[in-house]
C-alpha cells in the first residue's frame, strides 16, 4: 500500500511538473517569485466587512449569562423548546459536543426536570463522570514505578511533568525525569530547568536521539540509585499518524520492561481543545493504554467539556486539572466543581 502511494505520488508530481513546465513556456512571468508576490493588505483589511458583526456580537453577549436563565427555569413537567434551546446552547458552548448534548436533551425531554433544569443537567453530566480516579504511585517490589506522559503538541506535557514532580517530591518521594521528547528543539532544556527548580534528577540525550533509549537509561539509573519513581516525557505527536503512535507504543513497552513498570499513562489534554480531543484520546488509548487525563489550561476561558464524552465513551478518567501557571496550580480533579464550572459558561 505504501509503495503504491509512493508510485502514485511520483506519477502525480511528474504530471504536475509537466503542467508547470508548459505554463512556464507559455508565460515566463508567473514563475518569478517577485511577480507572484502579493502587494496590498492593509487597505484590503479595512475594506472587508466583518461577517455580520452586530447580530453575532449581540448573540454572544446574551449567551454569557445564559445559564443564569437555565437556573431560573424551574419547570417541573415537560420543558418548552425555548428552554431546551438554552440548555443546548450552554452545553455546546462548553465543548461537551453534539452527542453528549443530544443525550442530555433527550433525558430532559423524557424525564423533565423535577428539581429544576440546572440540577437535572448537572445530574446528567455527573452520571458520565463516575470513573475511579485514584493515582498509583507504587509498582511491584523490585521495580520502579513509571508515569508516562503522552499528548499532541503544545498541550503542556513538559510543564505538567514539572508540576507533578514537585508534588511527588513534596510528598517525600525521590523523582527522576526522563527527557523523552527528543524531537522538539530545546524540549530537554525546558525539562532540565524544571528538574533544577524541583530538585528532581534528569536523564537526557541529544536532540534526535531514540526516545526509548532515553527512557531505558533513566530506568537503569533510577533502579541503581533507588529512586522512588520516574516521570517520562514524550514528544508531542498528532494522533492521526500511525508511525508516531507506533513509536509511542515502543516507548511504553521499553518503560514497562524490568526494572521499570508503567503504573500510570497520562494523556495531557488542553482545555481549549474541541471535539478532536475524543479521537486523540481514542488513538492514544489504543497506542499507549492511557490510564488518566490531565486537563490543562483550565484557568482560561475554555471549559474542556469534551472530557465528559471521553470519560463516558472511553472510560478514561480525568485525574488532574491545571488551573494556573504556578507549580501548585495542578490539582486533583473534582467532578462536582468541574460540572459547575462547565455550566457557568
Amino acid at each position: 500500500m505504501i509503495l503504491v502511494i509512493i508510485v502514485v505520488a511520483v506519477v502525480l508530481v511528474v504530471g504536475i511538473g509537466w503542467v508547470v513546465v508548459r505554463r512556464r513556456r507559455g508565460r515566463v512571468a508567473i514563475a518569478s517569485p517577485r511577480a507572484a508576490m502579493p502587494t496590498v493588505l492593509v487597505t484590503e483589511l479595512a475594506e472587508r466587512p466583518s461577517l455580520d458583526g452586530p447580530s453575532l456580537a449581540q448573540r454572544l453577549g446574551s449567551s454569557r449569562s445564559v445559564f443564569d436563565r437555565v437556573r431560573s427555569l424551574s419547570s417541573v413537567g415537560a420543558l418548552s423548546d425555548e428552554q431546551l434551546d438554552i440548555v443546548e446552547e450552554v452545553l455546546l458552548r462548553s465543548d461537551v459536543g453534539v452527542a453528549t448534548t443530544t443525550m442530555i436533551l433527550d433525558n430532559l425531554r423524557e424525564y423533565g426536570a423535577p428539581d429544576g433544569v440546572a440540577n437535572a443537567v448537572r445530574a446528567s453530566l455527573l452520571d458520565s463522570l463516575t470513573a475511579e480516579r485514584s493515582v498509583t504511585t507504587t509498582a511491584q517490589s523490585g521495580r520502579v514505578p513509571v508515569w508516562l506522559f503522552v499528548g499532541v503538541n503544545g498541550v503542556g506535557k513538559t510543564t505538567t511533568i514539572g508540576k507533578l514532580a514537585k508534588r511527588q517530591i513534596d510528598a517525600g518521594r525521590s523523582v527522576m525525569l526522563a527527557a523523552g521528547d527528543t524531537f522538539r528543539a530545546a524540549a530537554a532544556d525546558q525539562l532540565e530547568q524544571w528538574a533544577t527548580r524541583t530538585g528532581a534528577d534528569i536523564v537526557r540525550a541529544s536532540e534526535g536521539a531514540d526516545p526509548g533509549s532515553v527512557v531505558h537509561d533513566a530506568l537503569g539509573r533510577a533502579a541503581a540509585r533507588g529512586v522512588d519513581m520516574v516521570l517520562a516525557d514524550t514528544a508531542g505527536r498528532r494522533s492521526n499518524s500511525t508511525n508516531l503512535l507506533d513509536e509511542l507504543s515502543k516507548v511504553r513497552r521499553v518503560a514497562d520492561r524490568e526494572p521499570g513498570q508503567v503504573v500510570e499513562t497520562f494523556m495531557v489534554l488542553d482545555a481549549t481543545t474541541g471535539q478532536n480531543a475524543l479521537s486523540q484520546a481514542r488513538e492514544f488509548l489504543a497506542a499507549a493504554d492511557v490510564t488518566g487525563i490531565v486537563l490543562t489550561k483550565l484557568d482560561g476561558t475554555a471549559r474542556g467539556g469534551i472530557v465528559v464524552a471521553i470519560e463516558r465513551d472511553l472510560g478514561i478518567p480525568v485525574k488532574f486539572v491545571g488551573v494556573g501557571e504556578g507549580v501548585e496550580d495542578l490539582i486533583a480533579f473534582e467532578p462536582g466543581a468541574f460540572v459547575d464550572s462547565l455550566l457557568d459558561a
Binding site: I2, L3, V4, I5, I6, V7, V8, V10, V13, V14, G15, G17, V19, V20, V21, R22, R24, A31, P33, M37, P38, V40, L41, V42, E44, L45, R48, P49, S50, L51, L56, L60, S94, D95, G97, V152, N153, G156, F183, R184, A185, A186, A187, Q190, R238, N240, N243, D270, T272, T273, G274, Q275, N276, Q280, K297, D299, T301, A302, R303, I306
Partner: protein
C-alpha cells in the same frame, strides 16, 4: 484537514443530489445536517447560526437557477458562504516603505507561536527578504533556546537578551535596523486572554514596536473557546490576521471558521506539518473547495512551481510520454516528490483521493522513501535501464544490498511495470475513460483555469490520466477502477 467536515458535506451532497425537488422539510433537514457537521468540526455556535441564516437567505433570496438541481443549489450556497466566512481572498503583504516591516505574534500557550515564528521567517526568506527573529518569550523555560535552534536550521538570526520582554523587543528592533533586515518577527510568550497583566505586557510591546502586522496564532483543534480568545486578543491588539497551526491533525478546523467569523479578520497563513516548509498562505476559496471535498489542484501546482527542479521534471515527463521511463528517472522524480513536502499533504490537495489513501499517505514517512531509494540504488546501471533482466539471483543481491527483502524488491518492480504499462497506453494517445474522482480532476482544473481566464495547459490530461495509472495498481492490477468513483462528486455546473 477538515476531513470530518468534508466527509459530512460529501454525504450531504450525495443524498441531496438524488432528489428532484427540495421541499421545505428537505431543506430543514439538509441545513440541520450542515449544522451538526459544523458543530462537530468545532465551529462556534454563534458562527454556525450566522452561517445557516446566511445560507438560508442565499437560497430564498436569489432567483433559483434553472440549470441547477435543488441539491446543487444548497451545495452552491454552502460553498459560497464558506468562502465568504473564510475571508474572501488570500493575504497580500505590503512591506513598510521604511524597513523593517514588523510582525508581532501572539496567542495562547501551546498554540505553536515559536515554531510559527521560524516558519514565517523561512517563508519571508523564500520571498527574497532578510528576516530577523526576536525571541521575546521569556516566560516558558527554554523558549528562547527553541527559537535559536530553529533559527539556525533555517539560517535566520535570532535576537534575545535576559531582560524584560518589552526591552528585548525594543533592542531587537534597533539591532534589526542596524543590521538592515527588512522583516522582523517578534515571538511573544503564550498568554491567556483573561490574564490582564500579561495582556498589558503584550499591548505595551505592541506600542513600542508599532508592528505593521499583528497575527494571532491559533490551534486548529481549538473548540468553542477560539472565539473568546480571538475576540480578547483582537480587542487588545487590533489583529491584522490569524495564523492557524496544526491543520494536519485529523478532522476539525472549526477554529478557523470561528475566529474569522468573530473578529472579521482573515486567516492569512496555515501551518500544515512539522517540517519548516509545511507552511503556506491561506487561500479561502481553495480551502472552501477542500472542505467540500473538491480538492485543491491550484495550490498543488503552485507548490510544484516553487519547489521542484523544472528541468528534471520536464525530462521525466518527456520520457514518461515516450515510454522510455527508467528506474533512474523514477529515482530522480522521487527526489522531486520529497521536495514537495509530506505525501499526506500532497494527497489532501488531490480531489477524489479516498480517505483510505489519504490516511495511508499520511503514514508514509521518510524511512519508506529511503527504502525505495536504497532498492534502486542497489541495482546496477544496466538493471535500472532494463528492469526485465532482474532475475531471482539479482533480486536476492539487490535485497541484501538495500537491506530490504526480496518481496519488497518484487513489489517495487511490479509497481514500476504497472506504471510503465499505463504510461505506454497513454502516450499512444488513447486516453482511457476515467470514471470517478481522479478523472474529474482534469475537469476541475479546466474549470479553475477558466475562472482565471486562462486556457487549460495541455499537460493536464496527462496529469489526470497519470493519477489514474497509479490508482488501479492499489488493488494489484486494473480491477477496481470503479471503486474510486462516487466519493467525490462536485456539482457539475457552477
Amino acid at each position: 484537514m477538515f476531513d470530518a467536515l468534508s466527509e459530512r458535506f460529501e454525504r450531504l451532497g450525495t443524498s441531496l443530489r438524488s432528489r428532484g425537488r427540495l421541499s421545505d422539510a428537505d431543506l430543514d433537514e439538509a441545513l440541520g445536517e450542515v449544522r451538526a457537521a459544523l458543530l462537530e468540526a468545532d465551529v462556534e455556535l454563534g458562527v454556525v447560526r450566522a452561517f445557516l441564516d446566511a445560507v438560508r437567505e442565499r437560497l430564498s433570496g436569489e432567483t433559483l437557477s434553472q440549470s441547477l438541481s435543488p441539491g446543487q443549489q444548497v451545495i452552491k450556497a454552502v460553498h459560497e458562504q464558506l468562502i465568504e466566512v473564510l475571508g474572501g481572498s488570500a493575504l497580500k503583504v505590503t512591506y513598510a516603505s521604511k524597513p523593517p516591516t514588523v510582525i508581532l505574534l501572539a496567542g495562547l500557550q501551546g498554540a505553536g507561536k515559536t515554531t510559527t515564528a521560524a516558519k514565517l521567517a523561512a517563508w519571508f526568506k523564500q520571498q527574497g527578504r532578510q528576516p530577523y527573529l526576536i525571541a521575546a518569550d521569556l516566560q516558558r523555560p527554554a523558549a528562547v533556546e527553541q527559537l535559536r535552534v530553529l533559527g539556525s536550521q533555517i539560517g535566520v538570526d535570532v535576537f534575545s537578551e535576559p531582560s524584560r520582554p518589552i526591552d528585548v523587543a525594543k533592542s531587537g528592533l534597533k539591532e534589526a535596523t542596524r543590521l538592515g533586515r527588512d522583516v522582523v518577527i517578534i515571538d511573544t510568550a503564550g498568554r491567556l486572554a483573561i490574564d490582564e497583566a500579561l495582556m498589558d505586557e503584550v499591548r505595551s510591546i505592541s506600542k513600542v514596536t508599532s508592528p505593521h502586522y499583528t497575527f494571532l496564532v491559533i490551534d486548529a483543534v481549538t473548540g468553542q473557546d477560539a472565539v473568546v480568545t480571538a475576540r480578547a486578543f483582537h480587542e487588545t491588539l487590533a489583529l491584522s490576521g490569524i495564523i492557524v497551526t496544526k491543520l494536519d491533525y485529523d478532522a476539525r478546523g472549526g477554529a478557523v471558521l470561528s475566529a474569522r467569523g468573530v473578529v472579521g479578520r482573515p486567516v492569512v497563513f496555515a501551518s500544515t506539518g512539522e517540517k519548516m516548509e509545511d507552511f503556506e498562505l491561506f487561500h479561502p476559496d481553495r480551502m472552501a473547495s477542500r472542505i467540500l471535498g473538491m480538492g485543491d489542484v491550484l495550490s498543488l501546482i503552485e507548490q510544484a512551481e516553487q519547489r521542484m527542479d523544472s528541468d528534471i521534471v520536464a525530462e521525466g515527463a518527456g520520457r514518461m510520454m515516450s515510454g522510455t521511463f527508467t528506474l533512474d528517472d523514477f529515482l530522480a522524480q522521487l527526489n522531486q516528490v520529497r521536495k514537495m513536502g509530506s505525501l499526506g499533504g500532497i494527497m489532501k490537495m488531490m480531489p477524489g483521493v479516498t480517505k483510505e489513501m489519504r490516511s495511508a499517505a499520511n503514514n508514509v514517512d521518510e524511512g519508506e522513501l529511503n527504502k525505495v531509494e536504497a532498492i534502486i540504488q542497489s541495482m546496477t546501471k544496466r538493471e535500472r535501464r532494463e528492469p526485465v533482466i532482474i532475475d531471482g539471483s539479482r533480486r536476492t543481491r539487490i535485497a541484501r544490498g538495500s537491506g530490504t527483502t526480496v518481496s519488497a524488491v518484487n513489489q517495487l518492480l511490479k509497481q514500476f511495470n504497472e506504471m510503465r504499462k499505463m504510461m505506454r497506453q497513454m502516450s499512444g494517445g488513447a486516453m482511457p475513460a476515467m470514471p470517478g474522482g481522479m478523472g474529474r480532476m482534469a475537469n476541475m482544473a479546466a474549470k479553475a483555469q477558466a475562472q482565471r481566464g486562462e486556457s487549460l495547459p495541455p499537460g493536464f490530461e496527462a496529469l489526470g490520466a497519470g493519477m489514474k495509472a497509479g490508482a488501479p495498481a492499489r488493488g494489484g492490477g486494473g480491477k477496481n477502477k470503479k471503486k474510486k468513483g462516487g466519493r467525490v462528486t462536485p456539482p457539475k455546473q457552477r
